[in-house]
């Protein structure tokens, strides 16, 4: 048995030995131990180093508020830094490392910072490191030089770069009553609500339900409190309407009674089962929340209060009663309230010598005096601890007479030999979640604590959360809260009886003992009482300034230990009561939450993949795919050894010479149906659709309300009241929402429906001189000749036994057809076309060739309709109907939108026969050394096989007037400069004779 482990007591399993390492050294513990309790049992006193001064630190607490004992847990190469040792359940093979020390925890070179002493006071960095105003270190350079070293010295644990192999998951939960905290109040609330038939979730951040019942030495209902708790949990477990969530921290209270919780599913296990997540993120929509979150014990602020061996009093009770570990052999207690006397008795019972109880109050009640003698402790009433001694472990402390009213110390200091000093500075209710829910906490001068605010959302408090610190109150309030939350009526049935030590819940209003030496308020960030007073001196007196200037409360414990003492010291300096200094409004998260858990099921799967019906064919036939929003589309179908440019040039050339086919299934498709469909289209498109004949298609342009270009595409009239609208791939969703908005909000009187049918149809565009012949040889049920299927005509037929809809329209500028079939037949039709097309020289082509041919034609896409261009800028003003108003028509001619000098669409030809780059700029006068005078930029570029030149589309100031002039491409990012000719955007077959055939 370890030196500090008691023979009996606690809920650890002494028959099960667990092996783990800390900083490489092997240790053993027992099942049920935390890393903190197991190391403490092994006699370890030094757990960590502080942030700024690298001071040696031991355990302050036994729970989630631990500021000192932070470790990195390793799983293979995967690192989990900054975990409180008090929250790590040990398992066989656990590997934990201490942090923020070089080379070792015992010998840390960073401790040299302690010599900096008063120079490194709060905010010192704002006053220096500015460096010289001139010379090589001017500007930001000197600071950045210093910063380099500061950054390396700062930081706690080290994060890893190896991908985390763990799985994270989300769970959406709904309940009538969420109970947070499973102490006596929470258990009573859960039980009462469950008995009413409510759907209940009970969550506790600890591994075991019971809260204070697990370590309080009290009895409930005639049995040890911990047994009562286990009995109640067992009763709850039997209920279908109750979900129990141990190891689950409710960390966020969001609008609409939505709470976020983190369940640590496998962190305490050696390995996860198949499919089991490491952590589960619960998003809980609760009817009512019951807060039974208890309270935190506060440290006292006095010189040397950070020495390893100085610990919160109740934490020692937990180590003794939950883990059977004695935090020291010779224990002293320092308190401003009654609760520490119970701790003294517990320590005594567990076998420690309680050498002294130092109480700042001279007037100690007889009940407490009786507890002191029960603990066989010498009582120093009206005294205070003024110093502690020891290095990496406590060896003793000094005590002086203390006057509570003025804070004065008097008389000779007396030394007491002790290896553990327990402190209690009163209790602060754990109101963080209630504060997150939106209201300001209220200061209670009797309790010397912030109590929960009046609820703005649907929650009820119970137990120590409300400032009622006795177990009897917790039990009564818990039941009442559970009943109320479940919609039940108050019960007058008898409550379980509680036997507990007596005690006054109100502490003395003493937070700090002013004496020589560093007194810590924020342990992890090394903020001292003097730092708080310095902030006061420099005018940083509001609570937020105090936090920001000194970093008080900004450490990983988020001020759980330091908030109230820090406020109290500032209040004293200001001569104001504490509530006038202010209170912090708490924000999520209550405790730090892993980023992986928040990504949950999206960790490793950020976005779904959107696939066309022919996707697998493309992959099997050598396509290189690229992302287009969530879609994947073929970029090229490269042959062995081909570059991208060679591939798209071949594809485009073959299409213009014989025929090419491209998958256009990603185009947005919207069914517009109903008696008012045509009228609606007249309003949303700039051009007229009511005049379109059934069986014909028309190219349409949409503007935004502000008159700028929005989207374009063809719309097919399939029936009198039945249109199929197509949109660009990128804007499909936006156009759909745009249409729905106008239908629902602006023109609800119109009778029509819009439905996304993008996924219903597979689309293949086949174009080129041989396209019609290919279709003619495989389409049945219709002719495809010029008379039956004129430009923009639509026919219905079959290919390979599958019904198809064919529209003759062209993006490539060739004689071209879009062939639509139902999605489940898409690959069949595609393969049939390719098979039939082989003798005609049909090629498949991807986005690159598609882009090349559209550039040659001067068609616009999203690169030109970029949200800043108008129809006129893009030479689409011929589509602006003058016969009717349409969305954007009233706004499109405002002065800024028709100003001369706007960027207008032009074509560019490279005069040095070198390729362009997308995003290159255009200048009138070339200055490679000092680029300036941009008149526009390239939106798209390619090698044009049709022209045998490198060409581009560009948006250029006053572009129309520049046709035929020369300028330069200026691309300093890629060091590409050269002469160009500005031409019309219609490079190729401007009359459209090829597509009209």
């Amino acid at each position: 048995m370890s030196p500090r482990r008691a023979e009996t007591g606690g809920r650890i399993d002494r028959l099960r030995t667990i092996r783990f390492t800390f900083d490489g050294a092997p240790y053993t513990g027992h099942a049920g131990d935390t890393l903190a309790s197991a190391l403490l049992a092994n006699g370890v006193t030094l757990f960590g180093r502080s942030f700024k001064y690298h001071r040696p630190r031991g355990l302050l607490s036994a729970g989630v508020e631990e500021p000192n004992a932070l470790v990195t847990v390793l799983r293979g190469e995967v690192r989990e830094p900054n975990i409180a040792a008090t929250m790590v359940e040990i398992y066989d093979g656990l590997v934990a490392l201490s942090q923020n020390r070089t080379p070792s925890l015992a010998w840390d070179i960073g401790a040299i910072n302690q010599l900096g002493g008063k120079i490194l006071s709060a905010g010192f960095y704002y006053k220096t490191f500015m460096g010289p105003a001139i010379g090589p270190l001017k500007g930001t350079r000197f600071w950045m030089l210093c910063e380099h070293f500061i950054r390396r010295a700062a930081g706690l644990g080290k994060a890893g770069t190896a991908p985390d192999p763990a799985r994270y998951e989300r769970m959406n939960a709904f309940c009538d009553v969420l109970v947070v905290g499973s102490g006596p109040a929470g258990l009573m609330a859960a039980k009462a609500a469950a008995d009413q038939g409510a759907r209940v979730i009970l969550a506790d951040l600890e591994a075991h339900f019971g809260g204070s019942a697990n370590w309080s030495s009290e009895t409930i209902d005639g049995m040890p409190a911990t047994d009562w708790a286990q009995r109640t949990v067992a009763q709850l477990e039997g209920n279908d309407n109750v979900r129990l969530l141990p190891r689950t921290t409710v960390w966020g209270y969001y609008d609409g009674n939505t709470l976020a919780a983190l369940e640590r599913v496998t962190d305490h296990k050696e390995a996860a089962a198949k499919g089991e997540p490491r952590q589960r993120y619960w998003a809980i929509r609760a009817g009512t929340v019951v807060f039974a979150t208890g309270s935190f014990e506060r440290p006292l602020v006095f010189p040397g209060n950070d020495r390893p061996g100085v610990m919160l009093a109740h934490a020692a009770e937990r180590y003794v009663n939950e883990y059977g570990v004695l935090p020291g052999q010779r224990v002293a207690l320092f308190t401003n309230n009654d609760s520490a006397y119970r701790s003294a008795v517990a320590l005594k019972k567990a076998g420690a010598a309680v050498v002294a109880i130092i109480d700042v109050r001279s007037d100690v009640s007889n009940e407490m005096r009786r507890l002191a003698s029960e603990a066989e402790a010498e009582l120093f009433a009206g005294h205070a601890v003024v110093a502690t001694e020891g290095g990496k472990a406590l060896t003793g402390l000094k005590v002086q007479r203390f006057d509570m009213m003025g804070g004065a110390l008097g008389g000779d200091a007396r030394s007491i030999h002790a290896d553990c000093l327990l402190m209690s500075g009163g209790w602060s209710p754990t109101i963080h979640l209630a504060s997150q829910a939106g209201a300001k906490a209220e200061w209670d001068p009797a309790r010397q604590a912030f109590l929960p605010p009046q609820p703005r959302q649907r929650w009820i408090g119970a137990g120590a959360f409300t400032g009622s610190f006795s177990t009897a109150e917790a039990i009564a309030q818990g039941r009442a809260a559970g009943l109320r939350a479940a919609g039940g009526t108050a019960s007058s049935a008898p409550l379980p009886a509680v036997e507990a030590a007596p005690g006054d819940p109100d502490p003395a209003p003493v937070f700090e003992i002013k004496a020589e030496g560093k007194s810590f308020v924020d342990f992890q960030h090394d903020v001292t009482a003097e730092d708080v007073r310095l902030a006061h001196r420099e005018g940083f007196v509001s609570v937020e300034h105090l936090k920001r200037y000194t970093t008080l409360g900004m450490a990983t414990d988020q001020g759980k230990n330091s908030n109230v003492p820090g406020l109290a010291i500032m209040a004293e300096a200001l001569g104001k009561p504490i509530p006038e200094v202010g209170t912090t409004r708490f924000r999520p998260p209550y405790t730090a939450v892993s980023i992986g858990s928040l990504a949950a099921e999206r960790f490793g799967d950020l976005k779904p993949e959107r696939l066309t019906p022919m996707h697998d064919w493309h992959i099997a036939n050598g396509a290189t795919m690229c992302s287009a929003g969530l879609w994947y589309r073929p970029m090229i179908y490269g042959l062995a050894g081909e570059t991208v440019e060679q591939a798209y040039v071949r594809e485009a050339k073959a299409t213009r010479e014989s025929a090419g086919i491209v998958d256009v299934s990603t185009l947005g498709k919207i069914a517009v149906q109903g008696p008012d469909a045509a009228e609606f289209l007249d309003r949303v498109y700039t051009n007229m659709f009511s005049t379109l004949a059934v069986g014909k298609a028309r190219y349409g342009l949409m503007l935004r309300e502000d008159g700028l270009a929005f989207d374009d595409g063809t719309t097919w009239r399939l029936g009198e009241q039945d249109f199929l609208m197509t949109t660009t791939t990128a804007n499909a969703g936006k156009v759909m929402q745009h249409l729905e908005y106008f239908l629902d909000v602006i023109w609800p009187e119109l009778k029509l429906t819009v439905t996304s049918v993008t996924d219903e149809w597979a689309g293949a565009a086949i174009g080129g001189p041989n396209a019609r012949a290919i279709l003619a040889s495989c389409v049945t049920g219709t002719a495809v000749d010029n008379a039956t299927l004129p430009f923009m005509g639509i026919v219905h037929g079959q290919i390979a036994g599958v019904p198809v809809m064919i529209c003759r329209l062209s993006f490539s500028g060739e004689m071209a057809f879009e062939v639509y079939s139902r999605a489940g037949y898409g690959t069949r039709v595609w393969e049939a076309l390719i098979e039939v097309g082989k003798p005609f020289g049909l090629v498949t082509y991807g986005l690159e060739a598609l882009g090349t041919m559209r550039i040659e034609k001067g068609h616009v896409t999203g690169a030109e309709i970029d949200g800043r261009t108008t129809a006129r800028d893009l030479h689409l003003d011929w589509m602006l109907s003058k016969k009717k108003p349409f969305i954007g028509s009233a706004m499109m001619d405002r002065e800024g939108l028709i100003a001369p000098g706007r960027l207008q669409l032009v074509g560019l030809i490279s005069l040095d026969n070198r390729p362009f780059n997308g995003g290159a700029h255009i200048v009138e006068d070339l200055d490679e050394a000092n680029p300036h005078g941009s008149i526009g930029h390239i939106t798209a570029c390619c090698y044009s096989p049709a022209l045998g030149k490198y060409i581009a589309l560009a948006l250029v100031e006053g572009g129309n007037a520049r046709h035929g002039t020369r300028a330069f491409v200026s691309d300093p990012l890629r060091n590409r400069f050269g002469p160009i000719e500005i031409v019309s955007n219609h490079f190729y077959d401007p009359d459209g004779s090829r597509m009209h055939g």
Binding site: N172, F174, L611, W631, G674, K751, T755, D759, Y825, T827
Partner: protein
């Protein structure tokens, strides 16, 4: 009718559809996943005030009597129907050709009919842990009192829009856009590993 000679449709799930038991199934399989592959999926929409006539048309053509109320639905194993939006219903039939059957029934005076037989992919999840697995994806309450038998819901999982019908006490049919179906299927299988699943 021509539809009867139509070739078999390609499933969007094909390369990722692996019949058999998967995941943590050693202690039993807690959900069964399948693609139901109905022949017809229609969207029917009524003009405001015409909902009753549309519901009557559904009854006449399919024999399914839709209960009143938002999201009300019914399923008989062969055919199913449910409301998913104001005045809008999804109607499903194992057989092809439902659109033709409705063509005369949904007149322009009543509303519109849109054939989505290929555009939506129905995926079925069944078993004691179906609610648990569904709750991993969707922020809606799957408990039976909140989501009764036959009822329909429209919801989404991030980018993936879904209509869900409860087709059994522990069975849900999820209609997702075809282009997203494979991604969703993979995610659903992944999420089912924890409880052990079987693909039928």
């Amino acid at each position: 009718m021509a539809e009867h000679q139509l070739p078999e449709r390609q499933s969007p799930l094909e390369p990722e559809y692996h019949p058999g038991s998967h995941g943590n199934f050693e202690h039993g399989v807690d959900v069964i996943l399948s693609e139901t592959r109905p022949g017809s999926i229609l969207q029917l929409a009524a003009w405001p005030g015409e909902e009753k006539r549309l519901i009557e048309a559904i009854r006449k053509v399919t024999g399914l009597g839709l209960p009143d109320g938002a999201g009300g639905g019914v399923s008989n194993g062969v055919r199913a129907a449910f409301g998913f939006a104001p005045g809008k219903f999804t109607v499903v039939d194992e057989a092809e050709g439902l659109a033709a059957a409705f063509a005369g029934a949904i007149t322009p005076a009543i509303g519109t009919l849109t054939d989505l037989s290929h555009g939506r992919t129905p995926i079925r999840i069944a078993g004691p842990k179906a609610e648990w697995v569904m709750a991993k994806f969707f922020a809606i309450d799957f408990a039976l009192p909140a989501f009764p038998l036959g009822a329909g819901r429209s919801t989404n999982h991030h980018d993936i829009f879904a209509q869900i019908q409860r087709s059994g006490a522990d069975q849900f049919d999820i209609y997702v856009f075809r282009s997203f179906a494979r991604s969703f299927w993979k995610a659903l299988c992944h999420a089912s590993e924890e409880v052990g699943y079987e693909v039928h």
